[in-house]
């Protein structure tokens, strides 16, 4: 009954992985070692693929592992099993929150959580920026000279040029992403 096992494993992962896609990785390594469904190399390969495909890393991983173990149906089942705990938890949280939404205490909590959330998004931006604007791992940089020689100026210029139109125009982000992909191919970024 590998299908039930698959559902069980991904349901548990979805239930206990806090903090997004990367948080599912330890669960996946453990799952691979216990069940033998996939190897550590499969996981690494999947991380690479996830970086160049849209969507949430966690869902991409679940789909991939599902396909490896049970074909296309497995991919669908594993993804659904992964998101089911989220769906249930969030629905419960909403019910509770709705009751206390206007309470001054809840508003005070979110008043402090909003700037904290912004800081975490800044961190996410920095981690994307590191791989986008530098050609080597930042840890390997030990002098000013090596800092300047490892900056990827092409991507930096593109981002700088895009920033003002993105901020000022009402165009959809999809349009900017499409244009950037074309520029990336033309200028070999």
């Amino acid at each position: 009954m590998i299908v039930l096992e698959l559902i069980y494993e991904f349901f548990l992962t979805g239930l206990f992985a806090f903090g997004g896609g990367l948080a599912t990785l330890p669960f996946l390594y453990d799952m691979g070692a216990r069940t033998g469904w996939f190897t550590n190399e499969d996981i690494l390969r999947m991380i690479a693929v996830s970086e160049s495909t849209p969507g949430a890393l966690g869902v991409n991983m679940a789909t991939y592992v599902g396909i490896l173990t049970f074909g296309v149906a497995g991919g669908i089942i594993a993804s659904l099993a992964l998101v089911l705990p989220s769906l249930i938890t969030i629905l419960i949280v909403i019910k509770v929150l709705d009751k206390f939404k206007t309470s001054p205490k809840v508003r005070a909590v979110f008043y402090l959580l909003r700037p904290a959330t912004i800081a975490l998004i800044v961190m996410a931006l920095l981690s994307v920026a590191k791989v986008t604007f530098f050609t080597v791992d930042l840890k390997e940089i030990n002098s000013f000279a090596s800092f300047f020689s490892s900056v990827n100026y092409k991507t930096l210029i593109l981002a700088a040029l895009l920033f003002i139109p993105i901020t000022k125009s009402k165009l959809h982000p999809i349009i900017f992403i499409a244009i950037s992909a074309v520029i990336g191919i033309i200028f070999r970024l």
Binding site: L22, V83, R114, T117, L120, I121, L162, I166, S180
Partner: protein, 188 residues
């Protein structure tokens, strides 16, 4: 029915064009959900993110469930969640079956060099827009700086940061200054 369909299409778009996981969805959420459809406000968006970080599961999915529920109840939540994950499932399945060499191809690599640069500019622009609504006084500025420094120099689980500041807010709500600030009904 029409609203459910709109919800589904919006979240499919978001799922199909977000590169880099939950946080990178912010610019898409902002355009689709806040500016175009006006389903939620900037403040609600930040609150959903905060909760999504300390509840289990993928952040992108959690946030989508929230917005879906806000627009059309439980069915809205289900439709939004399915919408945001379907592109992933389809694309990964395609790559697995027909485009095995996809991620190694030179053209794809160059395209992604461009896309990543764009994603950085998009996220920065979103942060500036939404940050103005979050960092509104000295206290919130302090929280922002503190969490930034903390995440830069200490490798700390996000859940703990969120819970700690949540508790702090809860504690502060008993002080006089906060009581006046959040008197019931004033800001609603």
């Amino acid at each position: 029915m029409k609203e459910l369909f709109e919800l589904f299409v919006s979240f499919m778009k978001i799922g199909a064009f977000t590169f880099g996981g939950g946080y990178a969805m912010l610019p898409m959420f902002q355009k689709e959900l806040i500016e175009s459809k006006k389903w939620i406000t900037d403040e609600e968006m930040m609150d959903y993110y905060a909760i999504s970080q300390c509840t289990p599961g993928v952040i992108a999915v959690n946030t989508s469930t929230f917005v879906g529920y806000k627009v059309k109840g439980v069915w809205g939540a289900i439709v939004a969640t399915l919408g945001v994950i379907i592109p992933s499932i389809v694309i990964i399945t395609l790559i697995f079956s027909i485009l095995a060499e996809f991620s190694d191809s030179q053209i794809v690599m160059h395209a992604f060099g461009g896309i990543r640069a764009c994603v950085c500019a998009l996220i920065l622009s979103s942060i500036i827009k939404i940050g103005k609504k979050a960092i509104v006084d000295k206290l919130t500025l302090c929280v922002f700086i503190l969490v930034t420094l903390f995440s830069l120099f200490v490798n700390f689980p996000v859940v703990i940061i969120i819970v700690a500041f949540g508790l702090l807010g809860f504690g502060l709500s008993y002080t006089k200054a906060f009581k006046n600030k959040f008197k019931e009904g004033i800001r609603e």
